[in-house]
């Protein structure tokens, strides 16, 4: 008697899309269908988006460790203690 796990049954039902198997016509249709979705997008003004990027950065840059540097005692990666050969 064959005993199939749930996983095996589900796996057999999985759709497999091989892009290599799609005909040129299928690919062209896929591309057109996708473009029809994208053409409807509402686009915001670049000026507004740039300002938001700039403002986001300005509001966080003072607390950005890689920009501002980290004081030695607060740096978890700094070598702790040990001997100093002078």
């Amino acid at each position: 008697m064959m005993d199939y796990s749930i996983a095996q049954v589900e796996a057999a039902k999985m759709p497999v899309i091989n892009v290599e198997d799609l005909s040129d016509k299928d690919k062209a249709k896929m591309e057109v269908d996708q473009l029809k979705i994208e053409v409807k997008l509402e686009r915001a003004l670049v000026s507004k988006c740039c300002e938001e990027v700039r403002d986001y950065i300005q509001s966080g840059v003072e607390e950005d460790p890689l920009v501002k540097g980290i004081p030695e005692e607060k740096n978890p990666f700094k070598e702790k203690g040990g001997c100093v050969i002078s």
């Binding site: 979705i37 686009r43 988006c49 990027v53 986001y56 966080g60 980290i70 740096n75």
Partner: protein, 340 residues
């Protein structure tokens, strides 16, 4: 007119419309907006730790959410989980296939995943009862190599593949819940949005795509690169996408303007970008290149403000800790370095 010719003409017309719509909102450039902003000061990061232990090229690394543990994958056939503060190896996991190309740490810290030329994504449980790390699931269905994977949570993971698709998997049942198709070339990299509702993919068709995870649909496609996109990441505000390409440039695309804001390039850079990561505020973009270096870019001014030089071979992966305290680079020289 044949159907192919008709479809081709329809595609061209739609692309022209999209181009025009993008132009219509292009009222200013990023350089103009930040013309009054000074370039960020020279960034000089030091190697604080070197993680030694892999015996071959490192292909991928990923930080855990605690900003302390990280996982790396090497073609020596091992996944190593490191405590980056102490450089101790927390786990050294032998892999069935040494041809690994990607690894990921689950946000919970309970699992790691990897995959590569075996076309599978293997999930490992780090918190097994007897303390041994074992394969929990092998997610098999892709017909091409696994280039990247990222956990949404302990039950779901997203993969990108050389078969030109990305997929959302149910880890419990080991099955694909959704297949994201549309790219016309190998998918090389993916990144998940902070709210876990969307992800972006970069591919060898030179485009990046934004996908709605639950709808299973591609929302936007970004072009402009002149070669394969190897690296992709979200800008920290979640509304922009960073890409790195074999054409030697990185780009920032804004999701709401649906177009490129700026390109990070220099005529002296003649090799591909392998990896990238933004700093905490997004002011810096760290990008790894085929020429063994990592360049640090001022994201607003598009100028190079620093270099991470220290590897003896290609920088294959880079990651900034979630808390922004350090960057980690992984290289074909078999070492990982922690910088800040």
């Amino acid at each position: 007119m044949g159907e192919m010719e008709q479809l081709r003409k329809e595609a061209e017309s739609l692309k022209d419309q999209i181009s025009a719509a993008r132009k219509a909102v292009h009222d200013v450039t990023l350089p103009e907006i930040v013309s009054g902003t000074a370039v960020v000061g020279r960034v000089q990061l030091k190697t604080r730790k070197t993680l030694r232990g892999h015996l071959a090229k490192i292909y991928a690394m990923h930080w855990g959410t605690d900003s302390k543990l990280c996982v790396s994958a090497s073609q020596d056939g091992k996944l190593i989980v490191w405590d980056s503060y102490t450089t101790n190896k927390v786990h050294a996991i032998p892999l069935k296939s040494s041809w690994v190309m990607t690894c990921a740490y689950a946000p919970s810290g309970n699992m790691v995943a990897c995959g590569g030329l075996d076309n599978m994504c293997s999930i490992y449980n780090l918190k097994g009862k007897d303390g041994n790390v074992k394969v929990m699931r092998e997610l098999a269905a892709h017909t091409g190599y696994l280039s990247c994977c990222r956990f949404l949570n302990d039950s779901e993971i997203i993969t990108s593949s050389g078969d030109c698709t990305c997929a959302l998997w149910d880890i419990e049942t080991g099955t694909q819940k959704t297949i994201f198709s549309g790219h016309m070339g190998d998918c090389m990299s993916l990144a998940v949005s902070h709210d876990f509702n969307m992800f972006i993919s970069g591919a060898c068709d030179y485009t990046a795509k934004l996908w709605d995870i639950r709808e299973g649909a591609c929302r936007q496609t970004f072009g402009g690169h002149e070669s394969d996109i190897n690296a992709i990441g979200f800008f920290p505000n979640g509304n922009a996408v960073l890409t790195g390409s074999d054409d030697g440039t990185c780009k920032m695309y804004d999701l709401r303007a649906d177009q490129e804001l700026i390109t990070y390039q220099d005529p002296s850079i003649m090799c591909g970008v392998t990896s990238l990561a933004p700093s905490l505020s997004g002011r810096l973009i760290l990008a790894g290149y085929d020429d063994f270096n990592c360049n640090i870019w001022d994201s607003l001014k598009a100028e190079r403000v620093g270099v991470l030089a220290g590897h003896d071979n290609r920088v294959s992966c880079i990651g900034v800790t979630p808390d922004g305290m350090a960057a980690c680079t992984g290289s074909w020289d078999s070492f990982l370095k922690i910088w800040n």
